[in-house]
Amino acid sequence: MASQEVLREEPSRGSFINDPKIRGIFFQVLVVVLLVAGVWWIAHNVIDNLTRLRIASGFGFLKGRAGFDISESAIAYSSDSTYGRAILVGLINTLIVAIVGIITATIIGFVIGIGRLSQNWLIRKICTVYVEVFRNIPPLLVIFFWYSGVLAVLPAPRDSIGLPFGSFLNQRGFYFPRAVWGDGSWLIFVALLVGIAMAWFVARKARQRQMATGQQFPVFWTSTALIVGLPLLAYALSGFPLSFDYPKQSTFNLTGGFQVRPEFLSLYLALSCYTAAFIAEIVRAGIRGVSAGQTEAAGALGLRSGSILRLVVVPQAMRIVIPPLTSQYLNLTKNSSLAIAIGYPDLTATAGTVLNQTGQAVEGVVIMMVIYLAISLLTSLVMNWFNAKMALVER
């Protein structure tokens, strides 16, 4: 870097030591040599250590029998499955908690963020307290609080707390009725897809017509009718194939229904609450970033306050909000690795178990890194695409 000491482009005077180009090349070569030497030394040590510990390198171990159980799995898994499948189960669990958490955190975050800008003093203060509390404590502590402070001291299954819609809450988690899809229920999903496609088509046509003629079309109500109505119609046509399996209370436990385990529940609640505080601050900054002149000008054009918010303020605020929102989503995904502390089998936890059982430390850590990097990259790509769509189109 010292090569840039002289930025003037002029022939070197006297010694070539003072030539910025030569110095630049020299320093870079030096760095490369040091790096290669360091990597070589490390590789040498690793090979030495691995042969001493009799660990075969390579990814062949992924085909071996895992031999450990995973408490929560979205796909078929048993201790006879392979190590590779165990890591896949972990990856799916990470994605599930990340996606559900992102949705919840966004909703809470927007509500709190808008609340902080409310005219109402009380609402403003409540939202400020929420943000200042959650921003300043570690996420791991929030997870522990939900796990050992709240969920672990709930009543035993015998005295479960009954909630609406036949769901229950107790020490072992949250139970709610599970939907049982009967014969012919595929028709409902097809109808849903068709409904979404038609709604999209209608929205496009309506937009084109408004651009051409200025006439508006009630897109929202039409789309809702299509997306909700078509599946309902299919449901009725295929003979009401949907039924519910309600959790039932027996002597010591609840049977039936769908169980959400406390590990997932506390991780999900903690990540949502924690990230929501940051999203709230981003939303607040975004809305305040739109100058008051925009609102006033829109009002002068005769727009009503709802339309001002929807057509003028929010689209501009979104431009400020999306880049930091992306990094919060990435943070939430990365923070989901804290699952290991309470035993929710996410990617880090399962890969860590595999790593400990096989001793394949290098491969294990590399797999973790590559998968997390891929998730980060994918999320960034999607959000960048969305950002580009929302970006200011200058004429």
Binding site: M1, A2, S3, Q4, E5, V6, L7, G24, F27, Q28, V31, V32, L35, N45, V46, D48, N49, L50, S118, Q119, N120, W121, L122, I123, I126, E132, V133, R135, N136, I137, P138, P139, L140, L141, F144, F145, S148, G149, V150, A152, V153, L330, K334, N335, S337, L338, I340, A341, T348, G352, L355, A361, V362, V365, M368, M369, Y372, L373, S376, L377
Partner: protein, 385 residues
């Protein structure tokens, strides 16, 4: 000029009238801030209901029903649970925090040696407080003492093994001691390293630039836990047989490198915000690269990104709690470890311990963020419009 009867023109100014009662006083404030419209009133009622539901419970639990002192779990358990409290009692068990306070602060540091970390803490506060107050003179000397002399003194005092001080294994350290020393070293290392990485990322030398970009983007893309795993599982493999270093040191390296990558991006934001004219002006004065950066660019760039830097510090302070994953016991770790103490296991123990830890973390983080806001206002020169 014609004579006019000007009697209808006022000859003296009317005295200023007080503002109408409808816009002053408590009533007007309530009208404006709480019941401005129908929707607003509903929101206020919902808010009051929420506060009325939650706040009394919290106060009851944390203060009125709380148990402040006691020898063991019986004071915090109901009769049914084998304690002395009436059934249906819920309250904070501060007695647990009270009994374990020494451990929460210093971990398993030997009792007879505890004066050493306490002395370090006193020195730290004695050097930090004048550093933070802008009016106290001799900032340069103070900084040298805080960032160069104190770490050496602290190292000698805490680790021991010289000057007749018995050696204390870092595996015995714990509690707030670990949290603070990890974050202090992390802060002291990550800021300079982050600046170097940010400069490297903007360097015109392609190889150095590529290396910096790869490092920053890789570290930012993976969770800290993976970095800590890396530091605890892979570093031993990287070293020749027989050479190993302390787990505490490995965690330090992991946390510092992780924070440095984030710091680099914050500093880069500041560097990008400096107009090109400043660089060119420095060049035209004949300053060299490092002079230009030190005297012209960095003072402006760092001033711009103070909030970002402090946010990274706060993030790192909170992230030190993750060392629990590689079985080291920082404040949160030691609190959690004590839940399994059969002597204190009650339904309230976990909650009380965690809330105490949360309060300590909150105090530090909130303090840092408030101090950064104050510094920002103080340094905000020349950017006012």
């Amino acid at each position: 000029m014609q004579e006019h009867d000007m009697s209808w023109v006022r000859t003296e100014m009317v005295l200023a009238q007080p503002a109408p009662a409808s816009v002053t006083g408590l009533g007007a404030w309530v009208r404006k801030n709480l019941i401005a419209s129908a929707g607003d009133t509903i929101l206020t009622i919902v808010g009051i209901a929420l506060v009325a539901m939650i706040l009394p419970q919290i106060i009851n639990w944390a203060f009125i029903n709380a148990v402040w002192t006691g020898p063991d779990r019986t004071v915090c358990a109901t009769v049914a649970q084998g304690g002395i409290q009436p059934d249906g009692w819920t309250g904070a068990c501060w007695a647990f925090v009270n009994a374990k306070f020494g451990q929460f602060m210093l971990g398993r540091y030997p009792i007879e040696e505890r004066w050493r970390p306490i002395l370090v803490a006193i020195l730290f506060v004695a050097l930090l407080v004048p550093m933070l107050i802008p009016k106290v003179p001799r900032k340069g000397l103070n900084a040298v003492l805080l960032f160069f002399v104190l770490p050496i003194v602290a190292f000698v005092l805490l680790v021991g093994g010289m000057f007749g001080l018995p050696h204390v294994e870092t595996s015995l350290w714990g509690g707030l001691l670990v949290t603070l020393s990890l974050s202090f070293v992390g802060i002291a290392v990550s800021l300079p390293l982050g600046i170097v990485l940010a400069l490297g990322r903007r360097s015109k030398m392609p190889i150095i630039k590529t290396l910096c970009v790869v490092f920053i983007e890789t570290v930012r893309g993976i969770p800290l836990i993976t970095v800590l795993f890396f530091a605890s599982v892979m570093l031993p493999l990287f070293l020749p047989e027989g050479v190993s270093f302390d787990k505490f040191l490995r965690a330090l390296i992991g946390v510092s490198l992780f924070a440095a990558a984030y710091m680099a991006e914050v500093v880069r934001g500041g560097l990008q915000a400096i107009p090109k004219g400043q660089y060119e002006g420095a060049d035209s004065l004949g300053l060299g690269y490092w002079q230009k950066m030190y005297f012209i660019v960095m003072p402006q760039a760092l001033k711009l990104v103070i909030p970002g830097i402090v946010n990274t510090f706060i993030g790192m302070f909170k992230d030190t709690s993750l060392v629990i994953i590689i079985s080291m016991f920082d404040l949160l770790g030691i609190v959690k470890q004590n839940f399994s103490d059969a002597n204190w296991a009650t339904a309230q123990t976990a909650r009380s311990g965690l809330i105490f830890a949360a309060f300590v973390f909150w105090l530090f983080c909130f303090g840092m963020s408030r101090y950064s806001m104050y510094t920002e206002r103080r340094l905000d020169t020349g950017h006012k419009r």
